[in-house]
Symmetry: C2
Subunit: 464 residues, 2 copies
C-alpha cells in the first residue's frame, strides 16, 4: 500500500506531520460513534500505541464506518492535529475512511480483560492484544540485540544441527525423529527396530544443545554463537519449561572462566539497555500492569557489577544465614532455585556468578580444577528468577577429558569428533548457554513461559 505513513513514524517524528495531510492504515481497536461523529482507535502494528481517528457525518460512508466491527482493517486520510490537552499527543481528523477488510462482530478480543490462560487458546489472535503485542515486539528486539551484540564483536553466528544422532550430555529426554512406519517398523534379525532403514540410516533425535558443535566452530573462528531452537521431551508441566525453546550458546576460544563471565555480563546489560531504549512504551506497560518493580530491577541489573563467588563460599553463606530452606543446603548438592534466589535477592541484591561447582553435579566436558573436586563452571543468578545463564571453561586436555568420559561410562566412539577437537589443538576455551525465553520472561516480567513463545509446545499441547 503506497503513500501510507506508519503510526510509529508519527509518534517518533510528530513535528514533521502535525497540521499536514496523512494517510494511515491499520486495524480498529475500539470504535464509538453518535449520529454526528465518531472516534476510532487504530493500531497499525508498527507501534504499541494506537492513534485516534475522529470522523463525522460529512463522510459519505459515515453510517457504514460507525458500525464497523473491532479488528476490521481500514485506511484513513486526514489531517494530523496536535491535542496538547488530551491524553494522546495528536489525532487524525478524517477526510476519508476506506474499509480495507471486514471483521466479524464476535471478535473475541473485545475491550474487556481476558486471562492469559484464555488468550493461549487463541494464540493466533493474541498478538492483537496490548500485552502480547508488547511481549512479542520485545522478544523480537531482544533477539536482534543478541545478534547485534555478538556481530559487533565479530562473533561468527553458527547454525548447529537440530536433528542429531548423538546427545549432548547424556540428558536422555529427547524427541525421536523418524520416517519409519510406526505401525509396522522394519526389524533386524534379532527383532530390534532396524534403524538402518530410517531416513538417516540410524536412530536420530532432536538436539538438546548445540554446544559440542559450537565448540568445533569456536576452535576455528575463535568467537562464535548459536541462536536457535532446542528441544526437551521432559514431562514437566511448570511455568518455566517448554518442549521447544530457543537458546543462545556462545563459545570463546583462548578464553577462561572469567573471560566467559565478562562476556555474559556485558551481553545481559547490552540486551537490557537496548530493549529499554527501543521499546520504552512496552516497558512502561509491563512496569505498570505486569510487574511493578520491573524497571527499577532492570536498571539495577544494567548498572551493577555482578558479584562473583565460589560455590563453596556460597554454601557457607547460605548455611550461616540461618534461613530455613525447604531443601537443606549441603556441599556437594546442586543449589535449588530457593537457594539461588536467596543469594541474589537477599544476600547480594544483585546478579551473582556462582563458580567452581563440585564436579559430580556438572557435565563431563567441564574443566577440572586443580583441587580435583570442582570444575571451572559458573552459573549466573539474577534477582526475581534465579539461574539465567550456565557456562563453563571446557576441558581442553585430551587426556583428562578421556579419563572423565571413561569414569562416567560415556561412549567415546560416539564422541570421536569431539575428542579430535582436542587431539588437533588443546586450546583453552569457554562458553555458556542462555535460555532465550527465560531472558524474555525476565525482561517483561511475564511469569509463564507459554506467554513469551508465539505458539508454545508443552506436554500435551501442540496447537496451531
Amino acid at each position: 500500500m503506497k503513500d501510507v505513513v506508519y503510526i510509529k513514524t508519527l509518534y517518533r517524528n510528530e513535528k514533521d506531520y502535525v497540521d499536514k495531510k496523512v494517510k494511515i492504515s491499520g486495524w480498529i481497536r475500539t470504535l464509538r460513534a453518535s449520529n454526528a461523529f465518531g472516534f476510532i482507535e487504530v493500531n497499525d502494528g508498527t507501534f504499541f500505541k494506537n492513534i485516534q481517528v475522529v470522523f463525522d457525518n460529512k463522510l459519505e460512508n459515515f453510517k457504514e464506518i460507525s458500525k464497523l466491527p473491532i479488528s476490521s482493517s481500514i485506511s484513513v486520510t486526514g489531517t494530523l492535529v496536535a491535542t496538547p490537552d488530551a491524553k494522546q499527543p495528536f489525532e487524525i481528523h478524517a477526510d476519508a475512511v476506506v474499509v480495507e477488510g471486514m471483521s466479524n462482530s464476535d471478535f473475541p478480543l473485545q475491550k474487556k480483560r481476558h486471562t492469559f490462560e484464555y488468550l493461549r487458546t487463541i494464540s493466533h489472535l493474541r498478538p492483537r492484544s496490548n500485552a502480547f503485542s508488547a511481549v512479542f515486539r520485545v522478544r523480537s528486539v531482544a533477539a536482534y540485540a543478541i545478534h547485534k551484540f555478538f556481530q559487533e564483536r565479530d562473533f561468527v553466528y553458527v547454525n548447529t544441527p537440530l536433528i542429531t544422532s548423538s546427545d549432548c550430555e547424556g540428558a536422555g529426554e529427547m524427541f525421536q525423529v523418524t520416517t519409519l512406519d510406526m505401525k509396522n517398523p522394519p526389524l533386524t534379525e534379532d527383532g530390534k527396530i532396524d534403524y538402518s532403514k530410517d531416513f538417516f540410516g540410524k536412530q536420530s533425535h532432536l538436539t538438546v544443545s548445540g554446544q559440542l558443535n559450537g565448540e568445533s566452530y569456536a576452535l576455528a573462528f575463535r568467537n562464535i554463537y548459536t541462536f536457535g531452537p532446542t528441544f526437551r521431551a521432559e514431562n514437566s508441566n511448570t511455568t518455566r519449561h517448554a518442549a521447544e525453546f530457543w537458546m543462545v550458546e556462545p563459545e570463546l576460544a583462548f578464553a577462561d572462566l572469567s573471560d566467559y563471565m565478562d562476556c555474559a555480563e556485558e551481553m545481559l546489560k547490552y540486551v537490557i539497555n537496548y530493549v529499554m531504549e527501543q521499546c520504552p512504551e512496552e516497558m512502561e506497560f509491563f512496569n505498570k500492569f505486569i510487574d511493578k518493580g520491573l524497571l527499577e530491577r532492570l536498571n539495577h541489573v544494567a548498572t551493577s557489577d555482578f558479584k562473583r563467588i565460589s560455590y563453596t563460599d556460597a554454601v557457607e553463606l547460605l548455611l550461616k544465614s540461618g534461613k530455613e530452606f525447604e531443601y537443606p543446603v549441603k556441599w556437594g548438592d546442586d543449589l535449588q532455585t530457593e537457594h539461588e534466589r536467596y543469594l541474589t535477592e537477599e544476600i547480594f541484591k544483585k546478579p551473582v556468578f556462582v563458580t567452581d561447582y563440585p564436579k559430580d553435579i556438572k557435565a563431563f566436558y567441564m574443566k577440572l580444577n586443580d583441587d580435583n573436586k570442582t570444575v571451572a563452571a559458573a552459573d549466573c543468578l539474577v534477582p526475581g528468577i534465579g539461574e539465567i545463564i550456565g557456562g563453563s571453561q571446557r576441558e581442553e586436555s585430551l587426556e583428562k577429558l578421556s579419563a572423565r568420559m571413561d569414569a562416567l561410562g560415556l561412549d567415546k566412539e560416539t564422541y570421536w569428533w569431539y575428542l579430535e577437537l582436542r587431539k588437533y589443538g588443546e586450546t583453552m576455551h569457554s562458553g555458556f548457554g542462555l535460555g532465550f525465553e527465560r531472558l524474555i520472561m525476565y525482561i517483561t516480567g511475564m511469569s509463564n513461559i507459554r506467554d513469551v513463545i508465539p505458539f508454545p509446545r508443552t506436554t500435551g499441547l501442540c496447537e496451531f
Copy 2:
C-alpha cells in the same frame, strides 16, 4: 586471554600498530624453520587472512617451537613490522612464542588441497580451512544482514514453531516427532497407533514452513519475518536439497504482490551489498578459486532493476525462443529450472520475477486473480541458480479461501485458526520465502548445499 589484539584489528587498523609491541594468539596454519630462524603463519579465527610470525634461535624455546605441529595454538609477543615489498602488508618479529595447546602431527588439513567430499567427512575440522572459513563467515554475516534489513524497517522477528500437528501445504514429506516406544507403541481399540499417548497427545511432525503462523503475526504487527530451521523428509540426493535447512519467511500486511516484490528485491540487494562490504577478502577468494564470474554477477544483481513478467508472457517468450528444452514448455505446467535459467540468463540477463502462475500449480492460500485462472504469485529467478524466492499475495477473502480449500479437499477443521485470521479482518497481505542456503550458495558460488551448512543432514547422513 587479556592484552591480546585480534588479527582482524591489525589488518583493519594497521597504522595504529606498526612498529609497536603486540600480542596475538591463534592456531598454526603453516610452519617452516631452519636452524637459525623460522616462519609461522598464524590464524586467530577473527580474520580470513593469516599473519606471518618470524622467530629466531634467540628464543629459548626455539627448538620446541620449530617442531610444533600444524593446528597447535600459540600466543606470540613481538613487534609488528611493515613489509611493503612482501605479499603480506606486515609481519610480527617475535620476542616470545608460548605454546598454548599442542596438536597431533597427523592433523588432516595439511597444506595440500583436499576435495570438498573429503572435507565433509571431517565437518568438525573443515572450518579451519580457507574455503570453509570463508563460507561460514559469509553465512554468519549474511544472516546478520537479513536481521539488520528487517529490523531497521521495524519488521517483528517471529519464532514460529518447529514441531507442528498440521502441515503447511499438504506437502506430505515430513519427519514424525515422537516419544512413543517404536517397538511397542500403544494401540487404540481398533488397532491404530494411539497418539493420544504421545508427548503432545496427537501425532506431530517437524514443520515444512512457518508461513501460516507468520501470517497470524503479520495480521497483528503488519510486517514480520521468520528466520529459522525447516525440514523436508524428501528422499532426494541432489546438490540442492537438505533435510534440514534455514528459511526466511517475511509477511507484510496491507501489501499486494508488487509490494512483496519491492521488499524482496530490496532485501536481496541489501544482503549482497552488505556481504561484499564486510567480507571483501572472502569474496575475493570465492571469485578467484570457486567461481570466476562471481563478483561481476553479484555486482550486476545489486545494481539491476529486476524484470517483472507474467507467467503467460514468459511461456510465450520461451516458446518463441526456438530453444530446445529437455522438458517442453506448455501453459499450465510449472517452469523447470532449465526454463527459469533461460529466462534470467539468456533472455533478460538479470533477475526476473515471474508473476501470476496458473492456480493449479500453486498452493491453496494464494490469492485468486480476476481471471479465475491464475493466482497472484511471483517467483524470483536469478542468473546461475534459477528460483531463489517464492511468494504470493495471500487470499484474504474468507469465502474464496474456503471455496478453494473445499475444491482441493483440504480439511478445514485443521485450519480453523487460519480461517479465523480472515474471519476477524480480511486484510490484504503478501509474503515470501527465501531458502537461506540457496542464498549462501548464490553469494559464495559454492555448488553443493552440503558445503554451506555446518553439519548437513541429508538422506542417510546425520553425523556429528
